[in-house]
Subunit: 96 residues, 2 copies
């Protein structure tokens, strides 16, 4: 397992989980958000692409927007955002 270039991440008691990987020196992850509301902090800026389901997201100081599958939003670095899923929602997160 230690030789795998993939990394399993788990947050909020397993309610959000992702698999991290690297492509051309850039980090990314694919993951799933179980129903609920969660807050994430960012170090690097992130681009979130919704793959399956729908996600509500609110950047720090901003307001809630709804993102169905196929849509994308970006989050500033050294910041944070809230997300809310009514059903399981799969995403691709790219670190910019």
């Amino acid at each position: 397992m230690s030789a795998s270039p993939l990394k399993h991440n788990t947050y909020f008691d397993g309610q959000v989980q992702s698999i991290g990987f690297e492509r051309h020196g850039r980090r990314a992850s694919v993951g799933v958000i179980a129903p609920g509301e969660y807050h994430f902090g960012t170090e690097a800026p992130e681009r979130m692409t919704i793959l399956s389901g729908e996600l509500a997201a609110k950047p720090e100081g901003g307001s809630w927007s709804q993102y169905p599958a196929g849509t994308v939003f970006e989050v500033a670095g050294k910041s944070g955002f809230d997300v809310r899923a009514d059903r399981a929602c799969a995403y691709l997160c790219e670190f910019l």
Copy 2:
């Protein structure tokens, strides 16, 4: 962790990992395939959508085809397929 509706799956010593979830009673997973060649068997038919990177795939008795990000292929149930990734490749697998 035990209450999470998400399931972390790991195959081939962690070289392929996925997060399984359910939406509207249908099972799906998002995952990443580290560089290498792997064989998977299927129970249910599967639809594979390539999210990031590129994947070569060969159904049982078929020939290799190349699937870049954004493309899709389906695999018959009670069957199997080979995949080959030159770099990390992220996918969405939907059980049909």
